[in-house]
Symmetry: C2
Subunit: 300 residues, 2 copies
């Protein structure tokens, strides 16, 4: 059960795996928040409204605007919000309206952004970018947004100019859980020196990935390498290869890393190792700032 | 039920996922064969004998020698057969004896081979190599052995000199089944031109792997790229990166590719694309030849 509050509007960050909602006051402060694991990936179109009301029903005491970002706007989401194409502002026009049977509910979904060449898409990150730019007007540079699918985004003149997505986070998860390396790589633990060496190794020889992966298994069999050390090495190999490919993005640029604490810290450290200073930004705060910017725009 | 035959000995290829057994006649011919999915990965130590007898009990009418290769000799196998270390013959000494309660059964397990630097291991492939060398005495060159864990093996003077394992096959499986690419990559189908272009791309820019993977998803979303084309591209990207890293093995060398028909053919084609001719060898025939060589050695 959520608290009984009377928000001016409701913000929603609705990804593939999770749903988070915030009851927003008239002065932009958060009155209450709630979350569930009813991400887009688990819902059919008919089930979105129920999943939302499970968390937020008590907050609706009159006509209420909901602003949502993320995979909720995908083709399989509550309503499809068509991609804007780069170059474009991070707060594009054309919010999708989701169908609802609730008489007081008005649901707006923020479109994602796509790029034709090379083909790429984002949903959710555009709102984090918009929030970051609302906080840092006229900021030019590169946003590194680590996660399941890490985005490197070139931002200039308050527009998204280009971006590139790396499947690094999802590769780390599936390799450590679904391959022979599940016997060798721990679910937690860390070794900083191992991580740094692996980043350097992968930057200089990124083609050796598939060999380096099996080598992790062989090291644990023959040398008894610990699960923690193997975990740091796997992470370093994957992030090092990503940094090698993302060099055109980060070389000589101003960089901010937006992400959850731990993984953002790992990227900041790996960039520092390459002599590249990067600012770390907490993801939740810019998500809320981006949803707020979208709400203000909607209200004109 | 297997046929009622009276073999001189029984050959077994016992990997992580499957068990295959052959009833062998005195002149080296196969009298009968059987298989099950009771691979090492599904069995506790106590269950190996039962899994074997399920297939071969009818073949045992008197004292019977069994020669087995593969993961059955791992630490978690029926009996641990300690690795021989390179450089070494592919038919090393020191077969492990597995415990059995059957009075007529004598089970010998062929050791795998390991390498200290870089750390690497094989179990099962050494027997295929021995079989290949039994068929091709004094052959010097490189064996490429595609599979879940592809091995590149330098063979000279009837010894394994060095080798390197790539997790390419397992990466292909887990990426196409357990990541967001499962929506984009088909379980079958092929496009040769796409495969060739992806091999070239990955050889020249192997660091772009994680970006190229997400790009497959974006292409299917934005351009409607077919599941068959995506499948060929994923395969080409992974094999291209492997070829880039394995160049010191294949450049200017005599090469034989030992594998199951389809995947061996793909590697032969990818090598041909690099101007490297390779012979294709059927894996089952060399496995049996290797087990036969081990049996003969055992009988002195």
């Amino acid at each position: 059960m959520s608290q009984t509050v009377q928000p001016e509007w409701i913000a929603a960050d609705w990804g593939t795996s999770n749903l988070r909602v915030w009851a927003m006051g008239s002065d932009g402060n958060v009155l209450a928040e709630a979350s569930s694991d009813k991400g887009m990936g688990k819902l059919t179109r008919d089930e979105f409204e129920g999943a939302f009301l499970e968390l937020a029903a008590d907050w609706i005491t009159g006509p209420t605007t909901v602003v949502a970002c993320g995979m909720v706007g995908a083709r399989q989401g509550w309503a499809e919000a068509k991609y804007a194409t780069v170059p474009c502002p991070a707060t594009p026009d054309g919010y999708a309206r989701a169908e609802t049977r609730h008489p007081d509910l008005s649901v707006h979904i923020i479109p994602g952004i796509c790029q034709d060449s090379p083909s790429d898409v984002m949903r959710g990150e555009e709102t984090q970018i918009a929030g970051f730019l609302a906080r840092n007007p006229n900021w030019d540079g590169i946003l590194c947004m680590p996660g399941t699918h890490t985005k490197w985004v070139h931002v200039s003149a308050d527009e998204v100019v280009s971006f590139q997505t790396f499947m690094t986070g999802e590769l780390f998860a599936t390799i450590s859980q679904n391959t022979v390396l599940r016997h060798s790589v721990g679910a937690s633990g860390w070794d900083e020196a191992t991580f740094e060496a692996a980043v350097d190794e992968a930057i200089s020889k990124p083609e050796k990935m598939a060999a380096n992966l099996f080598n992790l298994r062989a090291r644990s069999l023959l040398q008894g390498t610990s699960a923690e050390v193997s975990r740091a090495r796997l992470s370093g190999l994957l992030i090092g290869a990503e940094l090698a490919a993302a060099r055109p993005y980060w070389l000589g640029q101003q960089i901010a890393v937006i992400g959850a604490g731990k993984v953002a810290g790992i990227y900041v450290a790996a960039l520092a190792q390459q002599g590249v200073p990067a600012t770390q930004v907490q993801v939740e705060s810019v998500t809320l700032a981006g949803l707020t910017a979208a709400y203000k725009r909607l209200k004109g």
